[in-house]
């Protein structure tokens, strides 16, 4: 198979047909029940969350309860308008945090699906404290006493991605990208020319392969040729296998160790 360039992966990661958070949730979990609202302002539809069961009867692993959170993009214009293209407002991150704290209270592992062009840069978002909402999540997630697995399924861009990305394991689908901001934004800032996005993508180290080398992520989940949309069941199945196996591993260590190891994981980043 020909080598796929970083900018080709950006295109794959953003494809309308590419499976979104809900597609994976429906494949991997059973009885997903969506829970709404941040209890302060509203319900942000660009981020979904709820409770579900996870298990694998073929491997004799009985169902156990989990909390699931995902940034949800649409597959067409209408859906995207409703989902705000997966760009969250502060109440979205606060809903996610509320559900994560709830998971901690009841001892449920947390699985997050990251897929966003970034936090929404709107007036309301600023008025309601976009920066504070993201910061609060980073701080609180680092201390949750339950296993957290974060999966970048499409586009993981900027603080909006990281806001649900502080986990014990961070994994990426083979064609997903994870970056400080979009290649277009990067190009317009550093090259003063947004049309140089392709060049930016190649230099930014945003592919799963690059990020594995930088130790920013722990694992790459492979996709079929042409992308995840060509075989959702297969991708979901390997993801499910990985998630179950990892949660079982993480549940063996004490809460204190779990939190300390998560701290150490992020503590090392940028220290060489």
């Amino acid at each position: 198979m020909a080598k796929i360039t970083a900018s080709e992966r950006v295109n794959l990661a953003r494809m309308a047909e590419r499976p979104k958070a809900l597609d994976y949730i429906n494949e991997i979990f059973t009885d997903f029940m969506e829970l709404h609202g941040d209890r302060n302002f509203g319900d942000d539809k660009s981020i979904i969350g709820g409770i579900a069961y996870l298990g694998d009867s073929s491997k004799k692993i009985s169902d156990f309860p989990v909390t699931v959170i995902g940034e949800q993009k649409g597959k067409n214009v209408k859906e995207n308008m409703e989902r705000n293209f997966g760009m969250c407002n502060p109440e979205g991150y606060r809903k996610a945090l509320r559900l994560m704290k709830q998971a901690e209270k009841f001892g449920r592992p947390i699985i997050t699906f990251i897929d966003t062009p970034g936090a929404y840069p709107g007036m309301g978002a600023e008025e309601r404290g976009q920066g504070e909402a993201i910061a609060r999540n980073l701080m609180e997630m680092s201390e949750l006493e339950v296993p957290i697995i974060c999966v970048v399924i499409g586009e993981g861009s900027s603080g909006g991605a990281l806001a649900i990305g502080v986990g014990d394991r961070v994994v990426m689908l083979e064609n997903a990208v994870y970056s400080i901001l979009s290649p277009e934004g990067f190009a317009s800032i550093l090259y003063k020319d947004a049309s140089k996005a392709k060049e930016a993508a190649e230099n930014m180290k945003i592919t799963a392969q690059d990020l594995k080398k930088l130790n920013v992520i722990d694992k790459i989940i492979s996709e079929p040729e042409g992308g995840a949309q060509n075989d959702l069941k297969q991708v979901a199945s390997s993801l499910k296998e990985y998630i179950i196996k990892t949660i079982k591993e993480l549940e063996k260590i004490s809460k204190d160790e779990l939190v300390q190891e998560r701290y150490n994981k992020f503590r090392k980043m940028g220290q060489y």
Partner: protein
């Protein structure tokens, strides 16, 4: 004659001179960009680098800030050994850093250390907008984290002066991860029951706003500082309209409940001292 003059100034003076130059325009006079008044520079500096005419708070270097806040001779640096990294092998980045260091005599966008504030011991971190617009890459993240950890170790209050354009683009995803790293360290600091005062100065935006800047037990700000997550230009492009006057300024954030108090620079040290003193626990 010029050469003789240069030879005379010792290294220390040279450094101070360079930093002064990077603070504001070179020359004895400056023009306030707010009220357009022509001001005698020395007078401005003696007034905490605040315009004596209109009260505009000019941006100041970390060196000057430390001088304003820490008791004389008490500042001991933490993390000076941490170097700038180049995880993306980004074309020209390290060279740019080198040139900037030469020019400004500042070695990175934050300076941290232990100090005393009116006799009260504290850990102080001061960002510097003269260096890559105070952007946070691995060095800034690491130094801030070391400062937080030092403050936990010594059970001292933590004071961070924020000024930043956000995460440093040239270090890509590693800059983004500094947000998680510093916030996680603050979680530990918080759990230890220690005081953290965050001061937002002009401008505090992006990844710094979305991490340690917003996590203070007490959040102060200088007057009329630009504070936000997304920059005003990005928002205007997104919503396709001009932002109202004062949007994302300190007074706006106070109104919306995101900062505790706006403090003028001349009162900053005394205010910090008062807050630290109130939180002081008697050591048994």
């Amino acid at each position: 004659m010029v050469i003789d003059k240069i030879k005379k100034v010792n290294k220390q003076e040279k450094q101070e001179k360079n930093e002064k130059a990077s603070d504001m325009m070179i020359g004895k006079w400056i023009k306030c960009d707010n009220c357009k008044q022509i001001l005698y520079k020395e007078e401005v500096h003696n007034n905490f680098s605040v315009c004596p005419n209109c009260g505009k708070h000019f941006r100041i270097s970390s060196r000057r800030r430390i001088k304003q806040i820490a008791d004389e001779g008490t500042f001991e640096e933490i993390g000076a050994e941490v170097e700038t990294q180049d995880p993306l092998n980004f074309d020209g980045y390290l060279k740019k850093i080198e040139t900037l260091r030469e020019k400004t005599k500042i070695n990175e966008a934050v300076k941290c250390g232990t100090c005393e504030i009116n006799g009260e011991k504290a850990v102080l971190a001061v960002m510097d907008s003269n260096f890559m617009m105070g952007s946070m890459g691995s060095c800034v993240g690491e130094r801030i984290t070391l400062a937080i950890e030092k403050s936990i170790e010594l059970k001292l209050p933590l004071v961070i002066f924020c000024v930043s354009g956000g995460a440093r683009m040239q270090e890509g995803i590693i800059s983004l991860m500094q947000m998680a790293k510093t916030s996680a360290a603050l979680a530990k600091h918080n759990k230890a029951g220690l005081l953290y005062i965050s001061i937002l100065t002009d401008p505090t935006t992006g990844g710094v706003t979305a991490s340690f800047a917003s996590l203070g037990d007490v959040i102060l700000s200088e007057p009329n500082a630009l504070i936000g997550f997304a920059g005003p230009r990005v928002i205007e492009q997104t919503i396709n309209q001009k932002l109202p006057e004062g949007f994302q300024r300190s007074e706006f954030l106070l109104e919306h409940g995101f900062i505790d108090k706006i403090v003028e620079r001349k009162d900053m040290k005394e205010t910090l001292y008062k807050i630290i003193k109130l939180h002081k626990k008697e050591v048994k």
